[in-house]
């Protein structure tokens, strides 16, 4: 698999670092990580340049993950970019809402690097 550029959107800086660490521990070749603390910053980052994979929290201030997903529609730099939601929500309706809005999968917190790998690897393999 080629090295990838990842956008991690989460209001917690600690969680952004943990997600990055899990990706690397899962053996995913991450060449660059772009961080955003909410959906607004995430959309701005994507306007500046495309990424290969987006991992986004759902529950965030300013613009949450579902609004962020809606904002991705029509954004040229995000066309075809897989999005995985990371959430503490056990709420099925929120997950269904995210999948309906275009997310390709979700990871529920707390998670292990293996769980991240299971979600991310098939998407990256499909991109080859």
């Amino acid at each position: 698999m080629r090295a990838i550029k990842v956008l991690i959107v989460d209001d917690s800086a600690v969680m952004r670092k943990i997600v990055e660490r899990c990706l690397r521990q899962a053996g995913i070749d991450v060449k660059e990580v772009v961080e955003a603390s909410n959906g607004i910053e995430g959309l701005a980052a994507l306007k500046a340049g495309p990424v290969d994979l987006i991992l986004s929290d759902i529950n965030m201030p300013a613009m949450d993950g579902l609004e962020f997903l809606a904002g991705l529609r029509g954004l040229e730099n995000a066309t075809g970019t897989p999005v995985i939601m990371i959430t503490t929500e056990g709420s099925e309706s929120r997950v269904v809402e995210a999948l309906t809005a275009g997310a390709r999968g979700y990871i529920r917190k707390p998670f292990t690097p293996d769980q991240v790998k299971q979600r991310v690897t098939p998407l990256l393999e499909a991109m080859r």
């Binding site: 917690s12 943990i18 660490r21």
Partner: protein
């Protein structure tokens, strides 16, 4: 809030005897997966809660409550170091941020274990308060569930303050 949740929010869920066990189970899972540590129920809990760092997450919907996680600053720093896999925390705000995330995961994992709550209430973003000297005054007719856990020999508390 989604329409189904809004419709149901007038009918509140009351806690039962299993909830404190669920709070403990939720905490154990979060600590095992994210902190790589085990936590046990504190055998001799102090009479009063103490600890400089308190993280809180609001719950709204079928359950209106505040989910709180409180521990000593030393414990918060240790938790943050283990979550990040580092030997040292340069900025104390990282420990507070980690506490907020732990509380968020505790609340989310707890509500996922109560089938009616999983889809029946939403969580706020976490708030972290620092300082020892404060009291929580429950709302009238509210209920208070508390579990004292032990982490690295120190007590920490998981509390659910339920609005009446």
């Amino acid at each position: 809030m989604n329409p189904a949740l809004s419709e149901r929010s007038s009918a509140r869920v009351r806690p039962d005897a299993s909830w404190t066990t669920m709070m403990h189970m939720a905490a154990r899972e979060v600590f095992q997966l994210m902190v790589n540590s085990d936590v046990q129920v504190c055998a001799n809990p102090p009479e009063r809660q103490a600890g400089k760092v308190s993280a809180m997450v609001g719950m709204a919907g079928l359950l209106c409550a505040i989910f709180r996680f409180r521990c000593a600053e030393e414990s918060a720093i240790s938790i943050a170091k283990k979550m990040l896999g580092v030997q040292k925390i340069d900025n104390p705000s990282e420990a507070f941020d980690a506490m907020g995330e732990v509380c968020n995961m505790l609340a989310g994992n707890f509500k996922a274990k109560i089938s009616v709550l999983a889809d029946g209430c939403l969580l706020s973003v976490p708030t972290v308060v620092t300082g020892e000297d404060y009291d929580i005054r429950s709302l009238p007719s509210g209920e208070h569930l508390e579990v004292c856990l032990e982490y690295e020999g120190k007590p920490m508390w998981v509390t659910l303050e339920i609005s009446g």
